[in-house]
Amino acid sequence: MSTLHDNITRLAARHPDLAGSVTNAAGGVLTIEPARSGAPSARRAGRWIHSAYDPLREAQTWAAAHASACRPGETVVVAGVGLLYHVEALRRALSPEIELAVLVPDVDELQDALTARPIVDWCAQVHWLSGTAEDIAEQLRRSGRPLRCLSYVPAASANAEFHRVFEEALRRSLARQSGGQLTIALVGPIYGGSLPIARYVKRALETLGHTVQWIDHSVHAASYDVMSSLKDGRNRQVMQGRMANLLSQWTLASLAESPPDLVLSLAQAPLTLPMLEHLRKKKFLTAMWFVENYRHLTYWQQMAPGYEHWFVIQKDACLEAFRQAGARHVNYLPMAADPEVHRPLSLSEDERRLFGADLSFVGAGYANRRRLFPALLRHPWSFKLWGNEWEGAEDLRSVIQLNGARIDTATCMKVFNATTINLNLHSTTGEGLDPQADFVNPRTFELAACGAFQLVDHRSYLSECFTEREILSFRDFGDVPATVSQWLGDRAARQAMAHAARERVLAGHTYVHRMQDLLGQIGLSQPDRVGAILRGERQQEVLLTRCGDDQPLQALLKDCPSGQRIELKDVAARIRSKGPISALRREELMVLMLDEYRSETRDLA
């Protein structure tokens, strides 16, 4: 009897279909070579996926590092097959109440593993998950157990796309099923482009039923602005730096007032690294949505270890750069639109005249725009330029509106709605189109959500967000005048495309969708904290079911409102409202005592 045959027989006991597939697989994905310790090790495409010295010991170290975080009742899902050393070590390190499942994206790889070494008793204590990534995610969701995803990177990287799709499907399904209410402290910037996004995020989180404590630093903008008037650059920097520190401490003090489940910052939020480290020590969960081009704004390099979760609008090299800088969890989360704000408007004729044009652009006067836009002058169609920072652009003076004043969101929406073709050119510090044109700017989603027709410079991520039937793009700015002329003459085609783009945004690119994804991702990596809340495990009904025949606890929970998330502080508040403590029952006094210690646990002093 061969090792492969024995292993397949063991596998067939619980997974006959998978065992059949492995039997018929070709194998040959892994190159098996003995390690120095004598145990078989393996390479894939020339790269070692287990230690060339001692794969057993390496796997034990990996398992020990992850096992301590796993909780009874969870299902731990491992990405990465290889020779399964890490799976065996993890199974042995975990208690029996923790289920272990392994993703099998490639049966050829599994056949190689089952050929190379015997899998014995632990095989029966592992769930082998095969099929499409979406089906596996759905199967796990239906199990109803808290999920914790681990990745054995050397083996998982060969099937990165499968794991990405799996994780996304899982995140989405967690977001869909979520019924719990989180308390989220949202830390906004003092000023700038991420400030309106903070407002959209706030509304989205509230739409999802979460409670948002907005720590709004925009109220300090005037003071910060006054410091900009200092002529001495060093003094200006020192003063603004001190103010940022002060606001960071203010954030901390605000968080201490009522500790949230999650502290979510938007780019430029004034939270310094020492403050973030302090929050981490106090077990606060922090996340940052960095809605900026990571190549242009680089302060993230110093801040990367500070946040527990980073969400960025770029992928690949960006994700790697954040990891290299010390980010523990970093995920891609593109921009979006807020349909409450970015929507079709009914405009009067006067408004259409004032805000409308054949071609319009709204935005600041970046170098590339100053260089390219003169080519849009002297055409048979009208062109208007809205926005600020156009000082010195003499050749564009005739088309700059409102003397280059900054325009507010309401005016911006009117321009979008009144314009026949909205030009959307991503900013860059160079003179032409962005040479590293990857992420899609918020303007793309906002225009689409307005049902406004737009012409956007091509981005490599654009096709993930919109099809060619939904968005019109260009790769060469020299093509723009002709494209504008062509589409100005086809109203029906413009309307069809704009309508399709709006439908697409409403279906998948709103801030509500983004926040679902963001929380789903955090929930996946924190199944016992945020994940548990999102799954509704802190709702009164679930708590009542869980407390079984514990009469005193049942009585305490029944006093609380149904359909609500109930935490210790809520039970305590209910008890306090009953009157003087001398009249309280013993278990009520005990709950109040626990609550006294709870309130001290995350004391930030």
Partner: protein
């Protein structure tokens, strides 16, 4: 005879604060024992401080309170509410069959009040709560006012706690003779040799109350230059080891043979035994000063920042305190003056500092700087009359 059984009426004092506060609770225990000789008397305090009260013999039992476990249960509530509640219940039950006739809460925070309710006789609880609180209220208000306004009060905290418990101070300082058997071997020589032994508390609970280590090095150097037979024992918690090391490094190596560094190396019981072997304790940290007085050592304190001699000066007779005139970190220190006091019993003032000596009378401890002792006594008597009129009447009768 005091009752042995839990069924007999017992009283409980709750003191959840720090080391110095537990020591300063002992006069109240002493007075309660005298006032209610037929009642059992227990103290509930932080578990690590249990030894202070246990060795004093002023109460029958010391119930240890482990706040860290309550922290853990509070954190675990979200996932295991039932289990956490059960464990909390077991913790309370493990303290004994709690059904106290009276519970005195010396800390004015919610935790103390909740514990009082949990420990009180459930039948009497509702009826008596208001009566107890009524009696304690004037003193509680007085202490709050003192903390808030830092007024010209002259009633020591330990005596105010007597008032809260409805008893008059005994006019004597509690004394305790700790067991000597468990001092670490390498510290056993402390106090064995002839000479003047001074324990020096190098740190303080809060940063703004710490004396600079350079000042301590200078103090030791000056002291040892005047007393060939002088010995210094550095004391402090584990967090103060670095400070102890810095003090040592600031000394000439020839003098280091006269200095023992005990920082972070003793349990509370061992610290008490070490202090017992010294003649003086010097420092700015009130906790060790109080422990020193408890084991019969003379104390000399440098009080600044929020520390005030009249409220938390060393309890007993013959202790000294240099009180800084400002609440800021002092610019100069009474080094030569304090050493003259210890070595030659010579009193001398120092710029920016006033010198106070402790005395005991029927109202407890008081401090004088040689200027207005009669006025001070009259003030304290009037304060007692106003806060505990019935107690003063019954004592007079």
């Amino acid at each position: 005879m005091r009752p042995e059984s839990n069924r007999e009426p017992r009283h409980l004092v709750i003191q959840l604060a720090r080391l110095g506060d537990v020591v300063q609770t002992l006069p109240a225990l002493d007075a309660l024992r005298q006032a209610h000789p037929h009642r059992g008397l227990d103290l509930l305090c932080a578990a690590p401080l249990r030894a202070v009260a246990a060795d004093s013999g002023l109460c029958d039992r010391v119930l240890p309170w482990d706040g860290s476990r309550w922290h853990a249960w509070a954190t675990g509530w979200a996932d295991h509410a039932g289990d956490m509640l059960r464990e909390a219940e077991e913790c309370i039950a493990s303290l004994g069959a709690l059904s106290y006739e009276r519970v005195y809460t010396l800390n004015q925070h919610a935790r103390s009040r909740l514990l009082a309710q949990l420990c009180a006789d459930p039948i009497r609880r509702m009826a008596d709560t208001e009566t107890w609180e009524e009696q304690m209220r004037p003193w509680a208000q007085y202490l709050r006012q003192v903390a808030r306004e830092r007024g010209r009060n002259r009633i020591h905290l330990a005596d105010a706690w007597c008032g809260m418990c409805g008893v008059r101070p005994q006019g004597r300082a509690p004394l305790c003779d700790p067991s000597a058997g468990n001092i670490p071997q390498d510290l056993a020589a402390i106090g064995e040799r002839e000479g003047l032994w001074v324990a020096l508390a190098v740190g303080a609970g809060e940063t703004d109350r710490c004396v600079p280590t350079g000042m301590w090095s200078r103090w030791i150097q000056t002291f040892l230059s005047q007393r060939d037979d002088g010995h210094v024992v550095l004391i402090g918690s584990g967090q103060e080891r670095e400070a102890g090391q810095a003090v040592l490094e600031g000394l000439p190596s020839l003098l280091q043979g006269h200095v023992w560094d005990c920082t972070g190396r003793t349990t509370l019981t061992q610290l008490m035994a070490v202090l017992r072997r010294c003649h003086w304790i010097v420092g700015a940290d009130t906790g060790p000063l109080h422990v020193g007085t408890l084991v019969g050592v003379r104390a000399l304190g440098f009080y600044f920042s929020r520390a005030r001699v009249h409220e938390t000066g060393p309890y007993g007779t013959g202790h000294w305190v240099y009180q800084s005139a400002t609440t800021q970190q002092p610019n100069s220190w009474p080094v030569a003056e304090s050493i003259a006091l210890i070595c030659d019993d010579r009193q001398s003032r120092s710029d920016d500092w006033t010198l106070w000596r402790s005395h005991m009378d029927e109202w407890g401890v008081w401090f004088d700087d040689g200027s207005a002792s009669q006025a001070s006594e009259a003030t304290r008597a009037a304060m007692w009359q106003s806060l505990s009129p019935e107690l003063c009447r019954s004592t007079a009768a």
